[in-house]
């Protein structure tokens, strides 16, 4: 079943636009995130565009910072900054770098890029909210390759110990990392069982099915008094023909005009 819609295509156009202007980027890693982020910002998260540091906002940390083009597309689309910033992606004077930075980019909660940092930061934010009696929630998006990092599992143990049911980890499980498949580089399976064993409530969804994502994110926590992990089964490079099959799009620099043309062409041709 094809779950992608016009909104998915529109966001992918913005991402390819950034790649075109910047001449580089982690394209495939961004494309697997598009539906996760659009559902979060369209339907789930509480935020105020004109007040990015509003104290009651839900916190959303993109721990896999290299997927930032998808986040920039959604934040720009919402109006956190002007979409003309896309044209300065990775440029000296731009605010949108190859990894996202706080406070340069309104709406970005933490500078990420070095992997394995976001979950522990999210744990601190969630514990802080609990101590204050605040009701906002914390979402942390991690990559599957990022789960190679031991610090992810340090953070997971800590979240479970504190029964942080206001914290949701979202895994972009596209099953490919930079060198090869997660299976070949460092096997994660039995992945859901690992999270269960670490004390999380676990939910698995098709990470490109906006309806399934919405249902999962609107039903949190999925177990009482436990942090939740939503394992999103995704496809690296999703939604642009030619990218899904080609691992070299994990990160590419010196992208040629003809490649950009093919990318625009490939959007929606599914």
């Amino acid at each position: 079943m094809n779950q992608l819609n016009e909104r998915s295509d529109e966001l992918r156009h913005m991402i390819v636009g950034m790649l075109e202007y910047g001449g580089r980027g982690h394209l495939a890693s961004a494309l697997s995130l598009v539906e996760i982020l659009s559902v979060l910002y369209d339907d789930v998260l509480a935020f105020r565009v004109d007040e990015p540091n509003w104290s009651d906002r839900d916190r959303m940390i993109l721990s896999k910072g290299h997927g930032c083009m998808a986040l920039y597309a959604v934040l720009g689309d919402k109006g956190f900054f002007h979409r003309s910033e896309f044209e300065r992606f990775c440029k000296s004077e731009g605010i949108l770098g190859g990894h996202p930075e706080r406070p340069k980019v309104p709406g970005v909660e933490a500078s990420t890029g070095a992997l394995g940092h976001g979950l522990s930061i999210g744990v601190g934010m969630a514990l802080s909210a609990r101590q204050e009696g605040a009701k906002h929630r914390v979402f942390v998006i991690v990559g599957d390759g990022e789960c190679n990092e031991g610090s992810i599992w340090e953070g997971a143990m800590c979240a479970a110990k504190h029964r942080l049911d206001s914290l949701t980890v979202i895994v972009d499980y596209n099953k490919m990392q930079s060198y090869a498949s997660t299976h070949e580089v460092l096997e994660l399976e039995p992945f859901a069982d690992k999270w269960t064993a670490f004390g999380f409530g676990v939910r698995e969804v098709d990470g490109h099915d906006v309806t399934a994502l919405r249902e999962a994110f609107e039903d949190l926590p999925c177990e009482v008094e436990k942090p939740t992990v939503v394992i999103c089964h995704t496809t690296k490079g999703k939604g642009i023909s030619g990218v899904e099959e080609d691992l070299s799009w994990h990160h590419k620099s010196r992208v040629k005009p003809e490649e950009i043309a093919a990318l625009y062409e490939g959007i929606g041709s599914r």
Binding site: H117, G124, S128
Partner: protein
């Protein structure tokens, strides 16, 4: 010094509800008073330093002031990336209280020594580094850490260190403290080597070499003006520290002197650990002796440096 530091954190927590405490797997009963008084702000989160630092960053993003306490080498080497990215890049007001700076854990071997911690922290933008000389100075420092902007690395000695400071010289973060005047030579020191520095200066003075001592508890940001002014009026400058000579106080002073107009007119020497992993156990004192971070060696180096051959120093 460590007990005093944790007592102080407890006292700060009484006055300011932004003060949080995060430990790793400290000794039983550590910071018990804090835990009893403020269990909602007390966290003991296990041997997971990367997570401790990330958590602390999360707290600090939300306006809290976390004091993180564990062994110095694990707080610096183990989670250097978290300290650099989570704390320093965001310039968050997290305080790292580092137990056993230097060679305090000598009997436990080189895995537990923190002899390059200052060098590692110095290389990180936004980080402030403070090594108090004794418990009294710790007590003067800690209240100033609440409102200070940005991350602070507080290097502790072992505890029960002799009291060598007084409040005659006002303490301020970022200030070098002139604790003794001298006309011939200047000794710069940080942390517990203030004691040997003062003893050495006393002996040198009585032997005719007038020696000043500038205590530099804040290694970063370095009080360049005070140091260069003091260095400009003597013939020899000698640094002494319980740290490798690469990247610590000696290096910091060398850098600013080399870039000043003093070069050539002042003899400069560093005393500290050479470029080795200490190869013996024993005690902090025995390792200091082995690597000549001592009063005797300091006296000798200063004497040589001022080239006063005819004066007999006791």
């Amino acid at each position: 010094m460590r007990a005093t530091a944790l007592e102080c954190v407890g006292e700060l927590a009484e006055k300011d509800d932004r003060v949080f405490f995060i430990g790793s797997d400290l000794g039983q009963g550590s910071a018990q008073a804090f835990r009893d008084a403020h269990p909602d702000r007390f966290f003991m989160e296990g041997i997971a330093e990367a997570n401790l630092i990330g958590m602390a960053a999360g707290f600090a993003f939300e306006g809290k002031i976390p004091y993180v306490n564990t062994i110095a080498t694990f707080l610096t080497r183990r989670c250097l990336e978290q300290v650099a990215v989570d704390l320093c890049l965001h310039n968050l007001s997290v305080r790292l209280i580092a137990n056993g700076g230097g060679m305090v854990y000598a009997p436990l071997g080189p895995t537990h020594l923190a002899v390059e911690d200052i060098a590692l922290m110095r290389a990180l933008p936004n980080m402030t580094i403070i090594a108090p000389a004794d418990a009294d100075e710790m007590r003067r420092l800690m209240p100033l850490t609440v409102e200070y902007d940005g991350p602070i690395y507080i290097r502790l000695a072992k505890g029960y260190d002799p009291i060598v400071t007084s409040d005659a010289v006002p303490f301020a973060i970022g200030k070098a403290l002139p604790v003794r005047d001298g006309e011939d030579a200047l000794v710069l020191t940080t942390g517990v080597t203030l004691g040997p520095a003062l003893e050495a200066a006393e002996r040198l003075d009585s032997g005719g070499v007038s020696t000043g001592v500038l205590h530099v508890p804040t290694v970063k940001p370095l009080d360049e003006q005070t140091i260069l002014e003091a260095a400009s009026s003597v013939r020899a400058v000698v640094t002494i520290e319980e740290h490798t000579i690469y990247g610590g106080l000696g290096s910091a002073v060398a850098e600013i002197m080399a870039e000043s107009r003093l070069t050539g007119s002042v003899r400069f020497q560093r005393i500290g650990l050479p470029d080795v992993f200490p190869d013996q156990y024993g005690s902090q004192a025995s390792l200091m002796e082995r690597y000549k971070i001592t009063t005797d060696h300091l006296v000798s180096v200063v004497k040589d440096s001022v080239e006063v051959q005819s004066i007999t120093v006791a």
